[in-house]
Symmetry: C2
Subunit: 446 residues, 2 copies
């Protein structure tokens, strides 16, 4: 696939302007100073999880691969940079030829992560790697925030399907990425057609209150919907009186009615009442879908209620209180001079106010206890200890500028479910707590 993976219905030629201006000014200064071609290692990591969260969920990796491959400066972009005097002529010439030719390793999509996990490692010259900071962080910070919320909701929902319905609550293209991240985190389907088009995620949806209000009666509305969509549809039953609407729904659609949807009121109470009514009407196979301002706690509170599916919007696409992750993109090692073979020197900003970074090119592995349950996130520099060699987390994503780590979205989704399954039980508690794995640092010979 060659098109920029922006979640667009159409391909977009370039991602090069999803960049903070300082990346280009640093490039210009480094080109002039002769330091631009020093081999450099940048790492993406977070210093902390959102308060109270037990684990993070990495999402957006597939989108990063496309963004990197499509990071090119076309003539219109170069003209903009020239006209606004953002960079000088030698830099413009350098940018015209730019493509990333370095290597990227990272945690595969859907994997869980913890404070300090080197979820992505970008290696190349300083010049080629520094330019990718903003677009990589945008994608990973956004998508991982949604995936983490989705994962918690999936835990709360158990085996019941989760429908992503948040498009209207977030940026129209953020919504497409959110539907994708939600799928990785465990959601089943989406209401967003662009996400269906772009990522082949199953789409669902039948009707809103407006459809009932358009018609002269609720009966007319139900009749119109069933005539057009058939009995295997979901009727929205809370526009006027729920009990009357459920009665009418079964009358109009028959006992084969697929489901009724409740979008307001006391969902716990209503779900029980509607279930009883449906059963009394003989519509024992008709499901109940609930969709009113749900989050993982509301979903969990409905675990014992006769609910068949949850539709989640706002709280999903806004990361359930944590709409972004705090991932950063830091230079951790660089050569003293030019050339691919110059030895790397670990570098790090001095700690002040908690903004500590750990220098050096890192590996990561997840250590298991004797029962096969994860017990630590081990992050180190230098040699990987032999006992952790087959538990390493970073995989090759881009080799010499070419994406080699593409995979179907279903693979990332399955990986996430497996990774979560491998964590200690307390990972699935919704209550606030510490990260479920400690991060241990091992400093080896470089």
């Amino acid at each position: 696939m060659n098109a920029a993976d922006l979640g667009l219905p159409v391909a977009v030629p370039s991602t090069a302007l999803f960049t903070d201006r300082y990346e280009l000014t640093m490039l210009q200064a480094a080109l002039r100073a002769g330091t631009a071609d020093r081999r450099s290692v940048f790492e993406v990591f977070t210093r902390r999880l959102p308060e109270g969260r037990r684990y993070g969920v990495l999402a957006g990796v597939g989108r990063v691969l496309d963004a990197v491959e499509n990071f090119r400066f076309d003539p219109a972009v170069l003209r903009f940079l020239a006209e606004h005097e953002i960079v000088d002529e030698p830099t413009l010439e350098w940018l015209a030829d730019y493509r990333f030719r370095g290597d990227i390793w990272g945690y595969p999509e859907g994997e869980v992560y913890f404070p300090g996990s080197p979820v992505m490692r970008v290696e190349g010259t300083f010049a080629e790697a520094v330019l990718l900071e903003t677009v990589i962080l945008s994608i990973l910070n956004h998508d991982s925030a949604v995936a983490a919320a989705a994962s918690r909701m999936a835990v709360a929902a158990g085996d019941r399907p989760l429908i992503e319905m948040g498009a209207r609550r977030t940026h129209e293209l953020g919504a497409v990425a959110a539907a994708r991240a939600a799928f990785v985190g465990g959601f089943t389907s989406t209401s967003d057609l662009a996400a269906g088009f772009r990522y082949n995620i199953p789409t669902v949806g039948t009707s809103a209150h407006a459809f009932t209000l358009l018609h002269d009666s609720e009966r007319d509305a139900f009749r119109a919907q069933v005539d057009s969509l058939g009995g295997r549809t979901t009727l929205l039953v809370d526009t006027y009186d729920v009990t009357e609407a459920v009665r009418l729904a079964v009358e109009v659609a028959g006992k084969e009615l697929s489901a009724v949807r409740i979008d307001s009121g006391d969902l716990l109470l209503l779900a029980h009442r509607v279930r009883r009514q449906l059963d009394e009407l003989g519509a024992t196979g008709t499901g109940i879908v609930v969709t009113s301002d749900l989050d993982e706690y509301a979903i969990a509170s409905l675990a014992a209620a006769p609910v068949d599916a949850y539709g989640v919007g706002t709280q999903l696409v806004t990361g359930s209180g944590h709409p972004t992750c705090s991932m950063v993109y830091k230079l951790v090692a660089r050569a003293d001079g030019p050339g691919a073979d110059a030895p790397l020197r670990p570098v790090a900003k001095k700690s002040m106010g908690g903004k500590m970074s750990l220098g050096g090119r890192k590996w990561a592995a997840r250590r298991l206890d004797e029962h096969g349950v994860a017990e630590a996130e081990v992050v180190g520099t230098g040699e990987v200890p032999a006992e952790l060699a087959d538990r390493q987390l970073l995989v090759e994503l881009v080799r010499a500028g070419k994406a080699v780590g593409r995979e179907p979205l279903e693979t990332a989704r399955a990986r996430h479910a497996a990774a979560r399954e491998g964590l200690p039980m307390s990972a699935t508690q919704l209550s606030r707590g510490e990260p479920v794995l400690p991060t241990e640092y091992v400093h080896g010979a470089a």
Copy 2:
């Protein structure tokens, strides 16, 4: 302008898939039932502001105009809808010819709003208006959330410039829209080059810690930056020791150094200390830029500190605790039959669990007290009272499908500043409170 205003470096042909599936299934059912061409009025409003907020800020209106004009179903999209059996053949044929031919009125961009304010009103047939729900809500909910945070930060910053630096914390295209909304809310510039390209917002940026770490010494890094960018640049002084870096910065760049940037530590303490040091070094004209996890409260706490500009990222693009608004798109009136002249009948969902909607096509006006200060948001149906006739808030945005409400972004920015200025003083308190204006409802003859 004809390209979809998606904040993209390139034009995108269609916004039609930024749509929830149920809009298309409702369309199909209404086409079959013969109700699709009933004249309908949809309104966008919110039932509440985010908790504690005094006013809302409408942003994204300009983007809505482009999204509506570019809402077309091209062959690739129609093929997708057919292959996935999302709608039937007659509906596909109808969609192939679709363009919105109705009218849109609304609050102009930058205007403030309150619970119940009809910020946008979409009129047309049910079929043509129902399709726009998701894309309109996505844009307004996202952009208005960012603009509201920006406005509060602008109040806190007073006359000092605010730099938008949040691209890395949100979806890469959400970031472009966020930079735009921040500008409307009072920000001065952005780090995001795509926002500069697309909306001509001034861009800024010089260097990150990586640039200092790339070089063999801080002196080398400062030298490289000044050699390339000149003395009118901003040097980042907190990579190692701030005092030493400030000394070095003035030594390398001279007293004409534009500014130094502090990105970590106790900003209040550091700003005072660095100011004193700069003055002692004779660099009295060198400014101080601070950029570390700021929000409106942190900005306010630095009001008495010698700070010259604020860079704000995470808290801006995530709406400072409220990353979305709760705007909804509701059918409020519709005709009983076909035809443009059929009388409109107010409709509304029955209240349950607080989800009340008020039926009827609405006007809105802001009533002033004897000092010219706003004292109420008046929302009504029917005739506008004579004394409010010249205080009406809705303006014409789209006439018979053609956008007539486009304006430069600076106009929206100035409007917001004026609108905020016209509110009672308590609007600018950052502390939690009630909406600064009550919403009064007036029911006139329809």
